[in-house]
């Protein structure tokens, strides 16, 4: 209850604002339409309703988006190519695969970086530089390049997801694996613990909060990667493709619906990582 009420209040505020903005942003076009149709003196309530019911509005009204989501998911068979559930599933599978790759790669790199001076010095700047490359620019070339060697479908998308999601994991884990206080490390030194033991008994548990924080960012970003990859490769479907085609056909409602499904998916994934985090926290005796 105490958690629902604030969310509902803020949601309500957003909805009100959204409806108002919809009137504002769709008004010019509605006025043009009305003028063309020789409709003058439209009362404001009617006018507002008109702006919330446009076919291709600049800003669709919330109920239009919700109706579209409903129509494109529940009202359709799952296997239909118009079903956002179908496209969502395609994107989700690429996301999960990419996230798994990305997390593994990120952790491996972080481990290499904290254990090897040369890797630390040489890798970190380039890992950062790699993220300054606009992926949307490279994604089509990656898709074409991988396509040329026969890799199509899920894998190129997952690779692009991985490319985006490994970064927060490396950064977070490097920080996390270095987070033990000196005295905690000193203790291990007095036991002459092997690097492997220091890792499993000290660095890894100490890095857990960082790992989960990174994974939350990572999984959301992984979804973005999958969507970006889909923008470069219209075959095969996916939420990104729906965004794109919606944009070509001026189907703003479709864009928003796809966008919300994508964000909803991401929110669910982040929440899943969050509950895994709570589980692990509890097992590690964290203060309530």
């Amino acid at each position: 209850m105490t958690r629902i009420l604030p969310v509902l209040t803020i949601l309500l505020a957003i909805l009100l604002f959204w409806y108002a903005m919809a009137v504002h942003m769709n008004a010019p076009w509605q006025t043009t339409l009305n003028t063309r149709a020789d409709l003058t003196e439209v009362p404001f309530t009617t006018f507002a309703q008109q702006t919330w019911a446009q076919d291709k509005p600049v800003l669709p009204a919330p109920h239009q988006v919700i109706t579209e989501i409903w129509n494109a998911t529940v009202a359709l068979e799952l296997s239909s190519k118009r079903s956002l559930a179908y496209h969502g599933w395609i994107t989700l599978s690429a996301t999960l695969l990419g996230f798994a790759f990305g997390t593994a790669l990120g952790v491996l790199l972080a481990v290499a970086i904290i254990h090897n001076d040369a890797s630390d010095r040489s890798l970190m700047p380039w890992i950062i530089a790699s993220q300054t490359i606009p992926i949307l620019a490279v994604a089509p070339m990656v898709v074409v390049g991988l396509g040329a060697v026969g890799l199509t479908g899920l894998v190129p998308k997952a690779l692009i997801s991985m490319y985006l999601s490994f970064f927060p994991v490396v950064v977070g884990m490097v920080k996390g694996l270095r987070s033990p206080e000196n005295i905690q490390l000193d203790l291990m030194r007095t036991y002459d613990a092997s690097p492997w033991q220091v890792f499993w008994k000290l660095r890894w548990p100490a890095a857990m909060p960082f790992l989960f924080a990174s994974m939350k960012v990572g999984i959301a970003i992984s979804l973005i990667g999958a969507v970006v990859a889909e923008l470069s490769n219209a075959s095969g479907g996916g939420l990104g493709v729906r965004l794109l085609t919606g944009s070509y056909n001026g189907q703003t409602v479709q864009i928003w619906a796809a966008l919300f499904i994508a964000a909803g998916l991401a929110a669910i994934l982040v929440a899943l990582v969050g509950s895994a985090e709570r589980l692990v926290n509890r097992r590690m005796g964290a203060r309530a």
């Binding site: 969310v7 254990h115 950064v171 920080k175 220091v198 965004l243």
Partner: protein, 369 residues
């Protein structure tokens, strides 16, 4: 056996010499054509002498550089390169790696100064990547419209400086900087507002998390729709992209102060703002800088991506997106290179400030493995 080689270093030394020898043998019939390469093979094989006599790490660097130069000089134009060149590439790479290992070990033991010398390592790593890229694209005849060699990109880069500069100004100066500043400040301000009121926090955070998961790709066309074609819409995308990481990190950071540190403030009956300014914001410093760093790369990507959805005919994103269609792939990569350099410099700047401001944090003042 010389004891100052770690097992990894020993292994690398053996690989370098072994592949050198193999290259020498495999290339014997045709070696006359490439004297430089022959010299490299021979010297790489000879480097095995390190097992019995002192062998300066700088010799390894020289050898690696010789290998790279010899390889690039002897790349056959048009045709695929002979097999043994791959061995040379491998050997030179192993030597470079060995050098880097030895150099960082020397720095760690305090035998070489950190400043200046420390920079060699990442630079060499980047150079190695470039050499591999050059040799592979040219040696394996990768079509330049798929992936041009770095040399071609560099040629294009130097030839198009005014164009690249105009794009840089449009994208970086006009869109990224204002968007970054506004987005980060707004994220910080909202985080503090949200922190003040548990009600707002409970309401905003789930929605904030939801919004941060919106693929920006989706909001880019909408922003263009709302704010027009010019830099304003790009700045708006940057604001949207940088806002949430800052919000989420700051909220987490504001909770980072330990229980006893808060108790202290409680005993002083410090006001909310006093606790904020004197305890919680400083303690949140590492988190805020984390967001600033993440955002420094996100901002540039955001602006570039937003330019895919309509721009005036200038800007890095515009050039990249239209360049592919014109098959001006080397220009595209030149633009990407500019983006990478600008982004890295931006990041490095933020990281430097971070070191200065959060000097007290264990991750800054030590604790390296």
């Amino acid at each position: 056996m010389r004891s100052d080689l770690s097992s990894l270093q020993l292994y690398l030394a053996l690989v370098a010499a072994g592949t050198g020898l193999a290259g020498l043998l495999a290339g014997l019939p045709t070696l006359g054509a490439a004297p430089l390469l022959t010299a490299f093979y021979a010297l790489a094989t000879l480097s095995l002498a390190r097992l019995v006599m002192p062998w300066s790490l700088w010799l390894d660097l020289l050898l690696a550089l010789l290998g790279a130069v010899a390889l690039i000089a002897s790349l056959p134009p048009g045709a695929a390169m002979p097999l043994h060149h791959w061995l040379a590439l491998f050997s030179a790479w192993a030597l470079a790696w060995l050098f880097v290992e030895r150099l960082s070990a020397a720095i760690r033991r305090g035998r070489l100064p950190e400043t200046g010398i420390g920079l060699i390592i990442p630079v060499l790593f980047g150079l190695a990547l470039l050499v591999i890229w050059e040799v592979v694209t040219r040696g394996a005849n990768v079509p330049p419209v798929l992936l041009p060699p770095p040399s071609a990109i560099w040629a294009r880069l130097t030839a198009e400086v005014p164009l690249l500069w105009a794009d840089f100004v449009q994208t970086f100066i006009k869109s990224v900087i204002p968007g970054y500043i506004i987005g980060c400040l707004a994220g910080l301000a909202v985080a503090i507002a949200v922190d003040r009121s548990p009600f707002l926090k409970a309401g905003v955070m789930p929605i904030g998390n939801f919004m941060s998961a919106l693929p920006i790709i989706g909001i880019a066309p909408i922003m263009v729709m709302w704010f027009g074609f010019d830099w304003q819409s790009k700045a708006a995308v940057v604001v949207a992209m940088t806002f949430f990481p800052m919000l989420v990190n700051t909220v987490a950071g504001l909770n980072a102060a330990s229980a006893i540190e808060r108790d202290l403030m409680t005993t002083y009956a410090a006001s909310y703002w006093q606790t904020l300014m004197k305890l919680r914001l400083p303690a949140a410093g590492p988190f805020i800088f984390n967001a600033l760093k993440i955002n420094s790369t996100l901002a540039l990507i955001g602006a570039i991506v937003a330019e895919f959805f309509g721009t005036p005919v200038v800007g890095m994103g515009f050039r990249i997106s239209t360049g592919v269609g014109r098959l001006a792939i080397d220009l595209v990569w030149a633009e990407i290179a500019v983006a990478a350099v600008a982004g890295s410099a931006f990041y490095a700047g933020v990281a430097l400030v971070e070191r200065a401001v959060t000097f007290w944090h264990p991750s800054v003042r030590g604790g390296r493995a």
